[in-house]
Amino acid sequence: MKVVFNSISKNEKESAVINAAELTDSIKMAISLLENGEAAIVGYKDGEKCSLSVSRIYYIESVDDKSFVYTKNDCYEVRYKLYELEDTLDRRFLRVSKSMICNIRKIRSVKAAENARMKATLLNDETIMISRNYVKDLKKRLGL
């Protein structure tokens, strides 16, 4: 999509216009980011559509070709592939295994596990495994 940026003076009201054939999920995400200062993705729970602000997401897992977003207490299905989400989401999110992306701000602590992996305990007490290859990426992301 072509993006046009027009610079305006400080006393003018900021606005954005999106010209598109249809309101896709990606556009909804962009609108949420512009309106609320934070991106949101569309999730489905019990067939109902809902908007999930990115800061609520703990981790995203891919199971049998479907992606699921986990918040503190809930799980939503999303219609994106994991690699699409990985490209879209900001630097809070990091791939921790082949089938999982995690919000690193939701990790309470990590503990060394077998095979050079790390076991991460999240703020909601759930535990996830960080694969050996991705431990390096986590360290890099944290500036270590």
Partner: protein, 143 residues
């Protein structure tokens, strides 16, 4: 790529440690007899071959992606046994030890080196763990 890196690193590490043990033996021999003994030229390729075989064992047993297929402790046990057999067989074939006393000394050396590698690895992982937890403290969302 990661497995290839592990394979090469293990080959180099095992070859280096084995050659280092020869160097220590030469120094001890010199201290006792005031003369050097020289390694035969074919000993170096033998050491590298041992490095390659232990690297194959390490890559296949400890660096596979399917970690649940065989339990981790069982993998370590197999790795210890296979590498131990390789060291002892190579030692016998290439004359790195003589007699039962020599075999026992060689095996004890192997156990000590094996344990040291794991202990070193344990402390490095713990260091990573501490560093990551400290860095996470600075960015963590409020509960």
């Amino acid at each position: 790529m990661e497995r290839l890196k592990t394979f090469i690193m293990t080959t180099l590490l095992v070859s280096f440690l084995t050659l280092s043990s020869f160097a220590i033996r030469i120094v001890i021999y010199f201290a006792k007899n005031k003369e050097f003994f020289m390694l035969e030229s074919w000993q170096v390729p033998a050491v590298i071959l041992l490095g390659l075989l232990t690297a194959i064992s390490t890559t296949c047993l400890l660096f596979t992606k399917d970690t649940e297929h065989v339990k981790w402790n069982a993998r370590i046990a197999w790795h210890f046994v296979i590498c131990g057999i390789l060291v002892m067989v190579f030692g016998k074939l290439f004359g790195w030890y003589e007699g039962i006393a020599g075999a026992v000394t060689m095996f004890v050396n192997y156990v000590v080196v094996y344990a040291l590698v794991w202990i070193g690895n344990f402390f490095l992982t713990k260091k990573d763990e501490r560093q990551i937890n400290k860095a996470l403290d600075d960015i963590r969302d409020e509960e």
